[in-house]
């Protein structure tokens, strides 16, 4: 067992992927609780498609992928937030519009520059080889920033998520905190999407939050639980993708583990409910 992990981490690309992946899944799970509860899950999905477009354009221009994708996706996050807040334009339709447009732009750019080759597949479904040394440094710095900012603003994020009206009435500037959440989400998505894939990255945000909400009852316990679930699922997922005889795409394998975790928590929840019912019946 121990030898297995030593062998696994002797591949430096794998070690890099695990470091960045663990940080990104931690960030994603923390933000995910707030996003899911605020009914913003689709924003995460929309942003990953925008990220795909941005990465494709960056590759076409021979620019550094993260340097292009981060600002573009952050801008898209603010835009999507504005759209979903204004009642006139239907938020979900706007998100679908923006995500398909970016996908189309990305595909057109790729087909005209590098051609529709293995790259497209890597962007869409992720590749464990995606992280270069420079990427790792930037990713670790950004992910740490996200974590620190989240910890500092934890109480405000709770208040803004639970009851925006009240928070605003007591003088909390909710608009800024909504933007902060969108900003941190955008960064997290860009960092994770090349490894997890544009189509799969939003699962890192949504699954852990939903999983821990099955059984946890307070915001703090949901946050802590989803962080643990997310990190554990990522690690198991990566290990499986390495250990599988034919090898598994990392993104898909991490999502599969998340699905299993979600199922397990649902089962625990059901059992608890049945036990309570039985106890009540026994008492009557």
């Amino acid at each position: 067992m121990f030898d297995f992990f030593i062998e696994m981490f002797s591949y430096s690309f794998l070690a890099r992927a695990v470091i960045v992946g663990l940080l990104v899944s931690l960030c994603a799970s923390l933000l995910g609780v707030s996003l899911v509860l605020k009914r913003y899950s689709m924003i995460g999905d929309g942003l990953s498609h925008v990220g795909f477009g941005a990465l494709a354009v960056a590759t076409g221009l021979n620019a550094a992928p993260l340097a292009v994708a981060v600002p573009v996706v952050v801008m898209a996050a603010f835009l999507l937030l504005r759209l979903s807040e204004s009642s006139k334009i239907k938020g979900d339709a706007a998100i679908a519009l923006i995500s398909t447009s970016s996908l189309a732009i990305g595909v057109v750019v790729i087909s005209q520059t590098t051609g529709m080759n293995i790259d497209v597949c890597n962007y869409l479904f992720g590749s464990i080889l995606a992280m270069s040394h420079a990427d790792v440094a930037l990713s670790v710095a950004l992910a740490t920033t996200v974590l620190v900012v989240f910890a500092l603003f934890y109480n405000k994020i709770f208040a803004v998520t639970f009851d925006e009206q009240f928070a605003r009435a007591t003088g909390v500037r909710t608009g800024i905190y909504n933007m902060l959440i969108a900003f941190l989400t955008a960064i997290t998505i860009v960092l994770g999407m090349r490894m997890m894939g544009a189509l799969l990255i939003s699962s890192l945000i949504i699954f852990p939050a939903l999983t821990s909400m099955r059984t946890c009852k307070t915001f703090r316990s949901v946050t802590v639980c989803s962080a643990i679930v997310s990190v554990a699922c990522y690690f198991v997922g990566v290990t499986l993708s390495y250990a599988a005889p034919k090898g598994l795409p990392t993104g898909a394998s991490v999502v599969m583990v998340n699905i299993l975790a979600f199922g397990a928590f649902c089962l625990v929840f059901l059992c608890k409910k049945l036990l309570v019912k039985k106890r009540i019946r026994a008492e009557v």
């Binding site: 605020k38 639970f162 928070a167 007591t170 307070t218 915001f219």
Partner: protein, 236 residues
């Protein structure tokens, strides 16, 4: 100087007035009930008083050293809150947030205040319970405790008894009355329940997309508009 004054204020959305001709004042220690039919501008007025909505005309003036952060607000429940995993203590403590400014964490004093308010409203035994699993009356008491955490001066309650059964409604009304009497907290409440409004409130403000009546509860019961509204209500 009154705590809060409306001078010929008009509130509305996107240039269209929802409620107008508002000319009233609230003094320290008052208990004002805002009544009126659906769509008469009650919730719009509350948003205006909280300065979440700028008046289209006229003005809202805070007096007596009242700051925007000094107002405890009990909003109508949102659908998202029905499945929100939040502990009672977490919710109550979040009332202290407005006074924290940019400081990230709660102080010991904030926590003591949250515990004190939970005790006052009989929530101590529920402190670690999940908000969504409480009954409607308990949820309103949690939100009331949170509002008390953010103020000792003025409470704005937006239909706190909506959807509660008569017994719980009565309990909540006497609790609010107690807060008004014993703690000297000024209360402004929007209510559909006209009979309780007359029974508990000191002053009544009746809206009909404009200010239709403002005066003491006794005057209101005797007035034309008041007796009609009360009579109409009891026929339902």
């Amino acid at each position: 100087m009154p705590l809060l004054m409306c001078r010929r204020a008009v509130f509305g959305y996107e240039g269209e007035a929802a409620v107008s001709a508002l000319d009233f004042e609230v003094n320290s220690g008052d208990y004002l009930c805002v009544v009126g039919e659906n769509g008469s501008g009650k919730s719009t007025l509350i948003k205006g008083l909280l300065k979440l909505l700028a008046p289209l005309a006229g003005s809202v003036v805070y007096g007596d050293g009242l700051q925007p952060g000094d107002i405890g607000y009990l909003p109508q429940q949102t659908p998202a809150q029905k499945d929100f995993p939040a502990g009672v203590y977490e919710v109550v403590l979040s009332g202290r947030l407005g006074s924290r400014g940019l400081r990230p964490f709660y102080s010991k004093k904030d926590k003591e205040m949250a515990i004190e308010n939970m005790e006052r409203l009989g929530l101590t035994s529920l402190a670690n319970k999940c908000y969504r699993e409480l009954s409607g009356g308990q949820q309103q008491r949690v939100l009331l405790a949170r509002a008390l955490c953010s103020t000792r001066r003025l409470l704005l309650l937006d239909e706190p008894v909506a959807g509660l059964d008569p017994i719980v409604t009565g309990e909540l009304y006497s609790l609010i009355k107690q807060i008004n009497d014993d703690m000297g907290v000024t209360v402004i409440m929007v209510s559909h329940d006209i009979h309780s409004a007359i029974k508990y409130a000191k002053t009544i403000l009746h809206l009909r997309s404009r200010q239709a009546f403002f005066g003491s509860a006794q005057e209101y019961a005797a007035s034309d508009i008041g007796s009609k509204f009360i009579g109409g209500d009891s026929n339902v």
